[in-house]
Amino acid sequence: MSLVRKLAIDRQDILGTVQGFLRSILTLEDIAVVLAPRRLAEKSVVMPALITQPDCLSDADPLAPAFFLNAAQMMSRLTRRPSGQKIAVVLRPCEIRAFIELVKFKQGALEDVLIIGLDCLGAYPNTVYRRFAAADPDGSTLRFFFAALSGVSETVEGMELASACRVCEHPFPEGADIAIGFMGISPLDYLLVQGQTPKADAYLAQVKLEPVAIPAGRGDAVASRVSSRVQARDAMISRTHEATGTPEKLAAYLTGCINCYNCRNACPICYCRECVFCTDVFDHEPFQYLQKAGRSGSLKLPADTVLYHLTRLVHMSTSCVGCGQCSNACPNDIPVMELFRATARYSQKAFEYEPGRSVAEPPPMSVFKEHEFADVVGLKGKT
């Protein structure tokens, strides 16, 4: 177990303290850049930004309840070939897990990366966040922080967190090199900084922080948050199964889908470099649409919606980390996160696979064993 350190909170300014810590990481000799959520000129937008100037970190806002995209996709762009420089990156727990999946798909690398994760209080959907932050962008983060921290309530100031965050059972950055914790510390006058890998310990040794014992209340705070989320998740999954349990119900569930493929673009796991749905394969001849309409009596256009979502489920459900960016990106508010997570739960169970848990665990479709799944062979199986 590596050393736990104490990051004292300066004059109750939690955000400033986190920014200060990032500044001390950025000024370390071999860290060239920090990728962190940054409040941009349009103040109710927080986007990942590559920051090389320590001064620019004063706009970094890793605690904002904003989650405009899953930054694992950006990390893939930054690491799929060596850049020759080391990057420190602040990611949410679901972004870390997605990035680990991408590394396993050989679309990213961990070698030159120092991952910093924080306890996650969740985020609003993009449209809600802009309303929440509009009046007071600079103060909004801490308003949210203290309100969300005080309970496990999933509604802050009358606005609901993103559906994915309300059912997220991984609000702690297990896969980070450096984990920064604040849940279960009372009074909150310091943050926990924990090196979780040998790589992190080498960096943390250069940052002057006092060692500290993990406070007694932390374990309970972690356990109670996880257990209430697991409950919410299971309820969501059974509701979704109820709503999609037959081909007809599934089609009805997806009936608002306009095949914009936003859920695919927003998905950090959708790994194909070229999507089959954008190729000639789905460039049907006009007569084929008419033929299909004739067969069913009516054909919803655009067509192939159910086939698209089922195909995507085959590709991503074993690796779905539940970040909810699919629902965030859907223009017609189809609860796609619920559909994908509900299916993913069973796909992952079938292969005893937990996405993002470890780079050493190969994705289920990339390996096989000689003796396995005997029950799927033959005409007798009941599954």
Binding site: S296, V314, S347, K369, G378
Partner: protein, 139 residues
């Protein structure tokens, strides 16, 4: 009302099950007409999307059939197919597709008799559960 004649799409590998089907034919064994064979080089090349598309476009059931474990001409294509079928079955069952709608079997090149039996059994199972309604979705 005419008796329900199921449509079965069977993806069969060139080296084993297709050869078995050929043997069944040259041995003048009969098997049900509604089976449409699609010859592929290996079950390992059957993209799950082929199966989904078949089920959504009119097949009442899909069979994937290849070489016995250890006999694959591409060493391990059938093992990869088995994982994909496992995953597909998991996904399809979430949406109410019965297990009989997707089957995987190993039928070796010399198993002409077994081929005909598997086809008859599969047709009778699908007749029992009735037509797949997914092809009539207006989606």
């Amino acid at each position: 009302m005419a008796e329900f004649e199921p449509t079965i799409v069977a993806f069969v590998c060139n080296w084993c099950t297709y050869t078995a089907a050929d043997l069944a034919g040259t041995s003048r064994l009969s098997y049900p007409k509604p089976v449409r064979l699609i010859r592929v080089m290996c079950t390992g090349m059957v993209d799950p999307q082929y199966i989904l598309k078949a089920l959504l476009e009119g097949a009442d059931a899909v069979l994937v059939s290849g070489c016995h474990p250890g006999d694959c001409h591409y060493i391990n294509g059938n093992f990869k197919a088995r994982r994909r079928i496992r995953l597909l079955k998991e996904i399809l069952s979430q949406f109410g597709f019965e297990p009989e709608r997707l089957r995987l079997t190993w039928i070796g090149a010399s198993d002409g008799i077994q081929f005909a039996e598997v086809m008859r059994e599969m047709v009778s199972q699908v007749k029992a559960i009735g037509p797949c309604t997914a092809s009539r979705l207006a989606a």
